[in-house]
């Protein structure tokens, strides 16, 4: 796939490749997330399609040099459309032995391995479990090893700026970036702009980082070790204006947009939890959009504050991750019972209990669909990629107000922290969301808070409206009047009403689309953040001649009307999930179809290869 051309600007040949995957890894204080983010932004700006995978430990600072403290950031950039951050890496930058030992398995044979030679001292080697130095014993001979004295060279680069040794060493990530940027022919200007903006108040630090970045870049250019550079040309994406966006940013911006398009001020009541907190951080920055953010005393206060705000007429939203959603369960039940519109965002992580706070999983599907007491139906929709979070939020709010119900939005740690190019929409072209509140009653007629429209939705009467005084709450309500009722038949009637209301949403959502043949040997069906791996694997399998289709669910409760028919159109149905088979259970229960599972619960997303292998096995 590569062709060699000689560049006029540099001394070394540039090899054009269609895509590359680079991973920075080091200690959790080494600035690896920053290095990855910078390379991402630069790659996005030069027009590559990108997908990223930040992977960091739950401990803020595990002991230095230990395997527990290794933090990594992977970026995949390409001249074609891509959906995943890549299975294996072409180039690995390892800042210490612990980072090397925990990441080496993902480097392709013959791949580029850049290590900070200075960090391979006896103590660090021992912490990583090495008995000798892998840089010298030949164990790395399958790779193109570049052993660079990053610490010493960084210190030399910043000499004379009056920085302490510690401050100087903190610039090492910029040195590593510079080298990686040279290797993949990325311009430095985006990162130089970032340095100006970020370190403007510390001119000495800014200058040190600039020098370290250039030093790394020039090292690649000058030193004879590197024979060539690589280049990845811009991708042919749909025309438009783009920016890079993470899932949590897209979620927060989606909330701002939904608030604007429904002309309903946003109230975000939440309690900090990884990996959902960044939604709060982002919203808290934008109070000029009329956003009220409320950091509650706990998860239960978060959801109940949202119920109060919803009663008041606000666009009310809470966000959390699995353990927090568990605590919110009773409150969500109250939301379902009181039939108030609100959004519940679950940025899923590895569970159960505290589980794996910084790692991804999609094991909260049944929690969202079923995880409350009583017959407590709530719509559930899931985002499939970072940018998709934006659209999903708008759609969820449309459903919430149209059907007067809490709506679950499922994302996960992988898409929340991962990023991809987002085609910036024109705000006026976004769907507008109609919110209506009944007006005052002044002729003495009684207001009926549980009288329903054709969609079985009740009115959203807000305090302050004369004549509409009414009481809602968790006790069962008499149909139409909303008075407390223990009548057995009324309860059964109301249970059916609430169930039918949510089931009826199926008439208001698009039919399920299928990528690939309408009938065939195999259907791969998934939901949420596995989209990229599944779509890529299925397309590869089809390119190799397999009759394989892919359908990816956004709507998990209710499911699209045509899904049963789709499932019956293929000989076999494969359901890959980052859980033990929760969607399978729902498909089996709803449609009675036999399915095959591909399940992984390692706190990591699927690789394309894993899905491809399973497809091959089923087609054989």
């Amino acid at each position: 796939m590569a062709s060699t051309t000689t560049s006029v600007e540099t001394h070394k040949p540039i090899i054009e490749v269609h895509s590359a995957t680079v991973r920075f890894c080091g200690d959790s204080g080494d600035g690896m997330q920053l290095a990855g983010t910078q390379m991402t932004n630069t790659s996005a700006l030069i027009g590559n399609d990108i997908a990223t995978f930040p992977d960091f430990p739950a401990e803020i600072r595990a002991p230095r040099g230990t395997k527990a403290g290794v933090s990594g950031f992977q970026i995949h950039f390409a001249d074609t459309e891509i959906f995943t951050p890549g299975d294996r890496v072409d180039a690995l930058v390892a800042m210490n032995p612990a980072a090397l030992v925990t990441n080496l398995a993902d480097l392709i044979p013959g791949g580029i391995l850049i290590v900070n030679k200075d960090a391979f001292d006896e103590k660090s080697l021992k912490l990583a479990g090495y008995s000798g130095s892998p840089l010298e014993d030949g164990t790395l001979k399958a790779f193109q090893l570049f052993s660079v004295e990053m610490t010493r060279l960084t210190r030399l680069a910043v000499e004379g700026l009056g920085l302490s040794v510690k401050e100087a060493d903190r610039c090492r990530n910029f040195y590593a970036m510079g080298l990686a940027f040279w290797l993949y022919d990325r311009p430095l200007d985006t990162t130089l702009r970032y340095i100006d903006a970020k370190f403007g108040k510390r001119p000495d630090v800014a200058e040190a980082n600039r020098r370290a970045l250039h030093a790394g870049y020039n090292y690649g250019e000058t030193v004879e070790a590197f024979a060539s550079q690589f280049r990845v040309n811009p991708a042919k994406l749909t025309p438009g204006k783009y920016r890079n966006i993470t899932g949590n940013e897209a979620t927060a911006w989606g909330l701002l947009a939904a608030s604007k398009r429904s002309d309903c001020d946003l109230f975000y009541g939440t309690y900090p939890i990884t990996p959902a907190s960044d939604i709060l951080h982002e919203l808290a920055k934008h109070k000029n959009f009329g956003v009220r953010t409320f950091q509650a005393e706990d998860e239960i206060a978060a959801i109940t504050s949202v119920i109060g705000a919803a009663f008041a007429g606000a666009m009310s939203v809470t966000g959390s991750s699995g353990p927090g959603i568990a605590l919110k369960g009773e409150g969500i039940g109250l939301g379902v019972m009181t039939e108030l519109p609100m959004l519940v965002i679950n940025v899923q992580r590895g569970g159960p209990s505290t589980g794996l706070p910084t790692k991804t999983e999609q094991a909260d599907l049944l929690q969202a669909v079923c995880g409350r007491n009583g017959e407590c139906p709530a719509p559930v929709i899931a985002a499939r990629s970072p940018a998709d979070c934006f659209d999903v939020v708008l759609e969820a709010w449309r459903i919430a107000v149209r059907y007067m119900t809490p709506v679950f939005i499922l994302t996960d740690g992988y898409i929340a922290n991962g990023s991809e190019p987002w085609r910036i929409p024109e705000v006026d072209s976004l769907p507008s969301i109609t919110v209506t509140h009944p007006g005052p009653i002044t002729n003495g007629d009684k207001y009926l808070p549980y009288q329903r429209d054709e969609r079985l939705s009740r009115p959203w009467a807000v305090p302050g409206t004369a004549g509409l005084q009414h009481r809602i709450g968790g006790l069962e309500k008499q149909d139409i009047t909303g008075n407390v009722s223990y009548d057995p038949l009324n309860h059964e009637h109301m249970v059916h009403l609430r169930a039918n209301k949510v089931a009826g949403i199926a008439n208001d959502i698009p039919l399920q689309e299928v990528d690939g043949p309408e009938k065939g040997k195999l259907l791969v069906i998934g939901w949420g953040g596995t989209y990229g791996a599944l779509a890529t694997a299925v397309r590869k399998a089809r390119a190799a001649g397999g009759a394989v289709a892919h359908c990816h669910l956004r709507y998990l409760n209710p499911m699209p009307r045509n899904l049963g028919e789709i499932l019956k159109s293929y000989d076999k149905v494969l359901v890959p999930e980052l859980n033990l088979g929760q969607l399978r259970l729902l498909l089996q229960g709803t449609y009675g179809v036999e399915t095959v599972g591909l399940n992984k619960v390692q706190g990591k997303p699927f690789t394309v290869g894993e899905v491809e292998d399973k497809i091959k096995e089923l087609l054989a």
């Binding site: 811009p234 749909t238 009220r292 119920i307 109060g308 709450g473």
Partner: protein
């Protein structure tokens, strides 16, 4: 809103909902409901601008019985529900109705945080020292040794004292009254309604089914003048049937003294509900029967910034400084690129 309804002066009866009140006959809640309706009429409340929010328990059925907006929410969480509501709609008059179990046990955390945020709302805690709705288990305010269905050998949890907790959370308004002392109760609720900030009111309330007579000492005609002390701002702490007893400070501690015999009113502790330091209010909250008469009335009433004003103030400030949020501008900020 029609002019007619806006001009009409509402009576207590106008605040009654069409629902049958279903508390046990003789329950102290009836009196509280009656005084509340009087106070709402008295302060010129508008039905549609008033919201009652409750948790779970006998007291928490309250919202069904008033013709206002209301939420009967879940156990202990009413203060958090009210926080969301009041934050979004600072114009509404918001009342939280809770009990000793609801507010101090399962909802203790929310109560504490609602009080420290000082939103402009009223928290009315009905304290009958028992779990009524779940039929007679001891509550967080039940005294040590209390024999109930769940404590056949006597309660071994030290009781909580609601006013001390409220003052510990820097409450800006703290008061206590008694269900059957209707004039006093009306006065206290009125004061609470007028306070700007979170008002916390404890009402001694009788449960004649599961804990009858818990407050006999304070309600008995024969003894109440000696066992309770009505607080008045700026006045000395005097009590007793013959108004001949008072509270004096002995070092840091209060002591009961008899007037005359060389002790005059000037020697007594004077009540200052506006004292910026909550120490005096805390001291009052720790005066308990039988060692002391129990103070009723307003222990503390001070002014402090309110959460909803500060939050909405930040929103207004952000709009002023940066202009009304512009999504197109936000989306196009930072690094972007164009694909042709």
């Amino acid at each position: 809103m029609s002019t007619e309804s806006a001009l009409k002066v509402l009576t207590p009866g106008d605040f009654a909902s069409d629902q049958d009140v279903r508390w046990c006959p003789g329950c102290g809640d009836y009196s509280i409901l009656a005084q509340m309706k009087k106070v709402l009429a008295g302060i010129g409340a508008v039905r549609e601008n008033t919201v009652f929010i409750s948790g779970i328990g006998c007291s928490s059925r309250f919202p069904y019985y008033v013709d206002t907006y209301g939420i009967h929410s879940i156990h202990g969480r009413a203060p958090a529900v009210a926080t969301g509501l009041k934050t979004v709609r600072p114009d509404l008059s918001v009342w939280v109705i809770t009990g000793d179990g609801d507010g101090l046990s399962i909802g203790g955390n929310h109560l504490m945080h609602a009080i420290r945020r000082n939103l402009d709302m009223n928290i009315i805690l009905f304290n009958n020292r028992i779990y009524g709705l779940t039929k007679g288990q001891y509550s967080p305010t039940s005294p040590l040794g209390k024999v109930t269905k769940s404590t056949p050998m006597g309660a071994i949890d030290n009781p909580l004292h609601p006013l001390s907790i409220a003052i510990g959370c820097e409450a800006t308004f703290v008061a206590r009254s008694i269900d059957v002392n209707i004039k006093h109760l009306e006065m206290v609720l009125h004061r609470a309604a007028e306070h700007r900030g979170t008002s916390f009111v404890e009402i001694y309330q009788n449960c004649n089914v599961f804990n009858d007579g818990a407050y006999n000492f304070a309600t008995d005609r024969e003894t109440k003048a000696d066992t309770t002390l009505e607080l008045e701002h700026g006045k000395p702490l005097i009590f007793g049937k013959d108004r001949n007893k008072g509270i004096r400070l002995h070092g840091m501690d209060p002591e009961v003294v008899e007037l005359g015999k060389g002790i005059s009113e000037d020697d007594l502790l004077f009540h200052d509900e506006k004292a910026p330091e909550p120490s005096l209010a805390y001291l009052l909250s720790r005066m308990r029967y039988p060692e002391f008469p129990e103070p009723i009335g307003v222990l503390r009433a001070v002014d402090a910034p309110r959460y909803e004003e500060m939050l909405n103030g930040q929103v207004a400030e952000a709009k002023k400084a940066r202009g009304e949020g512009d999504l197109d501008k936000l989306f196009n900020s930072g690094d972007t690129w164009t694909v042709a």
